[in-house]
């Protein structure tokens, strides 16, 4: 039960949509050489000028060096017209699409004939081979994402990229072996990753995003992430006025209904009289951008309103249809771009994202009165300053703040309950919410009663970031494009807990236990399945952290065909818990080295290899978990006295957590990546990426005071049932927070992908990933993500924490494709992925929780549980989801961009289970959730 309590807190923390050192690469580059056609000699002194709608201020120009080379750096993503001119010669013009963080290569072979022939702009988009980068992943633009049906969330877009999965369904991608708490989320260079949970902390208007760079590996030194980077660039204004407004309606009538059987092999229940919960969504957006002062000051303003309902088919143990999960949210954003002169460019933006979510607890184990609720949101502001000192040097500053909060707890406390129908089947206690009624968990069937949470939680988090950097370009044994920067962050958290039910929670399922409400404990009369009583108090914590990182990276091109990308970063992080104790004090060195070979000399066939280490020195989880709480006591039911008078456990208090003073090794990732990229035809690249990743020394905690019996299923006691502890003077749980343990995560994966825009009509991305993820460390601090206890809670169980990790998805196929012509567009996103591991979890007598394993993680012992060779992999079923968008732009008819859209989700109405009961309850193996049904939504979009 202790774990359940702690885990519930963390799970709640994780629900916030989210650190680290990661300056965001918000710009792209255009570079290449200018040579003379006949001799092949470089053309020095040519002027290369770039102009485009995304570029505020005047056009940017550079001159080619002695080797004919040029590079236009720090260009905002977008389409640019490039003019190459030389005194007395007619200029050559090209058009290039620039993506953030990437080089758009543009080589010009100059001839008299060429200049004579140049009468029109030539479209040139051959940039997809990333000829000077080791980074894996891709950039998805607003233009691309608007052609396919999506949930219109950036987290959802990130999942379109090879090597990303989301087995938890919470919107935090797990990227190439990392878990959901290992990514960095950046918006215009500001790190908006949650300061504590390292998940995404903020939502942002989908239409205000101009492109999303998902970096899955091979990261330059400016990035520091154990998982991936999700780098968002938001839309700026321009010298032209633009309006983008849209309305999406997905009424419940547009959704297939029906109830389904409880087993994974069951289909629809054709004669079910249980009404289905509604599944519907509505969204309204308006985005306005334009000049305040032409060429000098632009703005972009955006507001989005979302309302969604997502129902879960009725299932065991309640078998009544619960209310749907309801989401209400408003996203607003304003961005100003200012170019006071050609040397300076400043952007300032602010965002806010309040949202309110009802019925978050899942509907099959809770009646409405026991539903949980969540209210979250916050604001962040970003200031970015680019100073173009010279052609060879520029300065960049990214600074800002993030505030977010999450309030969660019982639905009835925060908001009204939707009691339609369901409560009448049970006692009157379920008809109306009562703050003083204790939460009861019936372990017989997993049902939860009377409260959505044993405590309401109020969490406020803060981050301040200051990241200056200098980029230098020059020549020394080849060309160099170097960057040096410093990254400073200050983080803080305020966390308050308000117990419900008078601070009491019952865990039922004792000798007189029974399913559902009939099995609940009545302490006053001594009836029911009385087993364990948990008594807790409210508290307030504040903890903080500070980190400093410095990096140096170079892009050294000693030869036309060879690029070497060396880098190193130094990171220091410190945090303090709410008792003023130092929780973390770590230093890490992260070397990076990449080699990139242009195998065919035309930048069409690229081989890259990379090794890098990333250190996580800035994790606030230790300070969060280490901050003292009041002692929570657990009492076992005594059938002799008919009272909860046997104290069997205690945790928390000022001595409940200690920090390992010997920790010097920060959590870190060692990664080796090898990639081959080949332009197979025009604007189309085929890529094979191999990644090996090893994540070590993750933060975790050992319980060091309990003494377990040899089986590990009960804590040793004296003959009267009083638990024994290693330190008898302190009879409670004591956790030691440390990184000194052998548990690791290992990932091996191969991505095969094709990215193609062969013509303006087609936009295609196909990726297949074959991957393995295994090891002993599921998640930081003991597998909190999956609700299990982790390898170090119970030393008797440690040996079983070894196997496939929860995010191990063996096969993944993703297809994103769209075709448009004459205003018509049809786009689809298809994802197929094989099942993710679960672990059969068994009852553990001391805590009354289902925390013990009888086989390696990711397995089930099967019907013959004492057959050591008989355990089988235990996974969720394979999933296929097909989403389709069809749209028509009436521009040809009315000369206005009025677009009607039809989005169809889960086209084949596959209701494959995506949740399976894994605890050893009578409902083990039954379905806890299924894919959302087939549904469609209608959209209307107007672009000006």
């Amino acid at each position: 039960m202790k774990r359940t309590h702690v885990l519930s807190i963390l799970i709640a923390l994780l629900l916030i949509p989210s650190v680290a050192f990661a300056v965001g690469e918000t710009n792209g580059r255009i570079g290449g050489t200018v040579t003379e056609a006949q001799s092949g000699a470089p053309v020095p002194g040519a002027t290369v000028e770039a102009s485009g709608k995304a570029l505020i201020g005047s056009a940017r120009s550079v001159t080619t060096d002695d080797g004919g080379r040029y590079e236009l750096a720090e260009l905002p993503p977008g389409t640019y017209d490039i003019t190459i001119s030389y005194a007395g010669v007619k200029p050559v013009r090209r058009r290039v699409n620039v993506r953030q963080g990437e080089l758009a290569p543009l080589d010009i072979v100059w001839s008299a004939e060429l200049t004579e022939a140049e009468v029109t702009v030539v479209v040139e988009e051959r940039h997809l081979t990333k000829p000077d980068s080791t980074q894996t992943g891709t950039v998805i633009s607003l233009d691309t994402s608007s052609k396919v049906a999506t949930q219109r969330e950036y987290q959802d877009i990130a999942l379109q990229v090879a090597g990303t999965v989301d087995v938890n369904g919470g919107g935090n991608p797990q990227i190439k072996g990392g878990n959901l708490m290992m990514n960095r989320y950046l918006v215009d260079g500001l790190d908006i990753t949650d300061p504590v949970t390292n998940t995404f902390s903020a939502n942002i208007n989908f239409d205000s995003i101009s492109s999303i760079d998902v970096i899955t590996g091979g990261m330059e030194a400016q990035y520091n992430s154990l998982g991936g980077i999700i780098n968002l660039i938001t839309a700026a204004g321009s010298d032209e006025w633009h309006v983008d407004s849209s309305l999406y309606i997905g009424n419940d009538l547009f959704s297939v209904h029906g109830q389904y059987g409880s087993q994974s092999f069951h289909g629809v229940v054709p004669l079910s009289k249980i009404p289905s919960a509604s599944t519907q969504s509505y969204q309204a957006n308006i985005n306005v951008g334009g000049p305040i002062v032409k060429h000098k000051l632009w703005f972009n303003a955006s507001v989005e309103y979302d309302y969604t309902e997502a129902g879960t088919p009725a299932g065991p143990p309640l078998n009544v249809q619960g209310p749907p999960r309801r989401f209400n949210g408003v996203l607003a954003r304003l961005k100003l771009s200012w170019a006071p002169n050609e040397k300076h460019r400043i952007t300032l933006s602010v965002s806010t994202d309040p949202s309110f979510i009802s019925n978050t607890g899942g509907s099959n184990t809770r009646l409405p009165v026991a539903q949980s609720y969540q209210e979250q949101g916050g604001a962040f502001g970003i200031l970015q300053w680019d100073w173009f000192i010279s052609q060879k040097a520029n300065f960049n500053l990214q600074t800002g703040f993030v505030y977010n909060h999450i309030y969660s707890g019982s639905q009835g406390y925060f908001s009204g309950i939707d009691n339609t129908g369901a409560a009448s089947m049970f006692s009157s206690k379920n008809a109306q919410y009562n703050f003083n009624e204790p939460l009861q968990q019936n372990q017989i069937d997993g049902s939860i009663w009377y409260q959505g949470a044993a405590a309401n939680q109020y969490d406020r988090r803060y981050r301040f970031q200051f990241d200056p950097s200098i980029s230098l370009r020059g020549r020394a044994a080849g060309t160099h494009d170097a960057k040096i920067g410093i990254q400073l962050q200050y983080l803080a958290d305020e966390f308050a807990v308000q117990p419900t039910g008078g601070g009491v929670e019952y865990i039922d399922g004792g000798a007189n236990g029974a399913p559902l409400e009939a099995g609940l404990c009545n302490e006053a009369t001594g009836t029911g399945g009385c087993f364990l009583k948990v008594v807790q108090q409210g508290y307030l914590q504040t903890f903080r952290g500070l980190s400093v990182g410095g990096y140096l990276q170079d892009r050294w091109k000693p030869h036309r065909r060879v690029t070497i990308v060396p880098g190193i970063r130094f990171d220091y992080g410190w945090s303090q818990d709410s008792a003023g104790r130092t929780a973390t004090n770590l230093f890490g060195v992260g070397p990076r080295l990449g080699f990139i070979f242009d195998l065919t000399g035309d930048e069409k066939t690229i081989l890259s290899m990379f090794y890098g280490r990333a250190n996580d020195v800035q994790n606030m989880l230790p300070a969060g978990f280490g901050s003292p709480t009041p002692i929570t006591n657990e009492y076992l039911w005594n059938p002799m006295t008919n009272k909860f008078d046997t104290k069997v456990g205690a945790f928390g208090g000022s001595q409940g957590v200690i920090y390992d003073p010997t920790v010097h090794e920060p959590p870190h990732t060692d990664e080796v990546t090898a990639s081959i990229r080949r332009e197979v035809f025009r604007n189309s690249v085929a890529t094979v990426d191999y990644t090996y990743k090893r994540i070590s020394n993750m933060w975790d905690w050992y319980e060091i005071n309990r003494i377990w019996d040899p089986s590990g299923y009960r804590q040793l006691t004296d003959v009267n049932g009083n638990p024994l502890y290693a330190n008898p003077a302190l009879p409670q749980d004591i956790y030691k927070i440390t990184t000194n343990h052998p548990a690791i995560r290992e990932y091996q994966g191969v991505d095969f992908s094709i990215e193609s825009r062969p013509t303006d009509h087609w936009d295609i991305y196909v990726a297949y990933t074959l991957a393995w993820l295994y090891g002993q460390a599921g998640e930081e601090f003991g597998g909190q993500v999956n609700g299990t206890s982790g390898p170090f809670f119970n030393p008797r169980q440690t040996v079983l924490w070894d196997g496939y990790l929860p995010e191990d998805v063996r096969h993944q196929l993703k297809v994103r494709a769209s075709y448009n012509t004459h205003g018509f567009n049809v786009g689809t996103f298809i994802v197929f992925q094989t099942g993710a591991p679960l672990s059969h979890e068994y009852f553990q007598f001391t805590d009354g929780g289902y925390q013990n394993l009888r086989g390696p993680t990711g397995t089930d012992p099967g019907a013959s549980p004492n057959n050591a060779h008989g355990f089988a992999e235990f996974r969720t079923p394979d999933l296929l989801e097909v989403d389709v968008r069809a749209s028509y732009d009436f521009h040809a008819l009315i000369k206005q961009h009025l677009i009607v859209l039809l989005d169809m989700f889960n086209l084949f109405n596959l209701r494959t289970p995506n949740g399976i009961e894994a605890t050893d309850l009578p409902t083990f193996g039954q379905v806890t959730s299924r894919q959302q049904p087939f549904r469609f939504q209608l959209g209307l979009r107007y672009l000006y």
């Binding site: 003959v719 074959l770 079983l800 070894d802 390696p856 004492n866």
Partner: protein
């Protein structure tokens, strides 16, 4: 890069990936945690066991032996009333059905071997170590064939008696041996083995020395009380720890079982059958608070009330260590006289015995 080279690189990458082993901890003679006792009968789970709430408690019962002395025994009824409870080994025309082996390390079944190799400077840490790593627990074997006796409680014909197979540890690491399958092929260990039957894919099996040991495998989670009804200062009971098929087992060791071997001549040309049976003590229990027609009844058994009287094999003393001791008791019920329950076999009026129901109790006394 040509296509062949690219394919070669891809193949190498795939080969590397395919070589990954997700179960690092399960190499060699691995360990998988405690045995699953879900299907164990109640007496092996202990009183008060509730799968969703409480572990069971296994407590011993006192009994009287000849001379009025008191002994303490742990009683486990045989699931059905039958003399098959006594049958240990049957051999007919070379076909042997025997008890499952218990591999006893370094000669003394009454205690775990200390002849194995402990880690340097090892000090037992109860919190850290699930078993002592300066001892080697005995190993039980999973059934090898369908006709073999079950090795774990839960089957109706389970008998807590095993065929002893002596093993010499020769300094093997303590408690590194977790299964019979690895034990019999472990080159560091010395033991006699019998090849598996031709055509089977089984491992060799240890060759029993002809002795039988009573060992009741109890729920590893159970609280087992000692002879004083308590636990030691560590909260541990008198159960011992061993291994079965890579799992941890807890057991109460009841000593050697006296046996009797008889040969029954085959009829009508059938081969002779040689049967080895356990010799049982007699356990007399008063019938006052139970149904003598069903003396092993789960809810109100006739034995274990503190009034049992044990008459050892051959009417010798039934105390452990005495010649008349056997861990198998033939349960008989009687009507106590006016002076109440007997405290010595000689006090029982045999004319008050109830009809024999052929009920047997494994009445294990622990080594002192």
């Amino acid at each position: 890069m040509d296509r062949r080279r690219a394919l070669g690189l891809l193949a190498a990458a795939l080969a590397a990936a395919a070589g990954c082993n997700p179960y690092h901890n399960l190499d060699g003679d691995f360990y998988l945690g405690p045995v699953d006792a879900t299907k164990f009968p109640n007496s092996y789970l202990g009183a008060g066991f509730d799968g969703a709430g409480s572990v069971g408690t296994i407590a011993p019962a006192p009994a009287f032996v000849a001379g009025g002395a008191q002994v303490i025994y742990y009683g486990f009824p045989y699931g059905s009333a039958s003399t098959s409870a006594l049958r240990l080994r049957t051999e007919q025309a070379g076909t042997v059905v025997d008890r499952e082996p218990i591999y006893v390390f370094d000669g003394d079944p009454t205690q775990d071997s200390k002849s194995c190799s402990a880690p340097a400077n090892y000090v037992w840490d109860l919190q850290r170590d699930f078993v002592r790593f300066d001892r080697q627990g005995n190993v039980f074997q999973e059934p090898q064939g369908t006709s073999d006796a079950p090795a774990l409680p839960g089957a109706s014909n389970y008998v807590p008696i095993y065929a002893e197979v002596p093993v010499t540890s020769n300094g093997e690491d303590c408690n590194s041996v977790h299964s019979a399958e690895f034990l019999v092929t472990n080159p560091k260990l010395s033991l006699a083995t019998t090849p598996p039957p031709a055509g089977t894919r089984r491992n060799p099996q240890g060759t029993p020395d002809g002795k039988y040991i009573a060992a009741a495998l109890v729920d590893p989670r159970a609280m087992v009380l000692d002879e004083m009804g308590g636990l030691d200062s560590n909260g541990l009971g008198p159960q011992r720890w061993g291994f079965y098929n890579h799992y941890l087992v807890a057991y109460l060791e009841g000593g050697y079982v006296p046996t009797r071997t008889t040969t029954v001549a085959g009829m009508d040309g059938m081969p002779d059958t040689t049967v080895t049976q356990a010799r049982a003590m007699l356990m007399f229990a008063p019938n006052t608070a139970c149904n003598p027609a069903h003396p092993l009844d789960d809810t109100a058994p006739c034995f274990g009330t503190g009034n049992d009287v044990i008459d050892g094999v051959g009417s010798m003393s039934g105390a452990r260590g005495q010649a008349g001791y056997s861990p198998v008791c033939h349960l008989l019920t009687y009507t106590p006289g006016a002076n109440g329950p007997a405290t010595d076999p000689s006090q029982i009026d045999m004319s008050t015995l109830d009809p024999d129901t052929n009920s047997f109790v494994y009445c294990l006394q622990l080594a002192q």
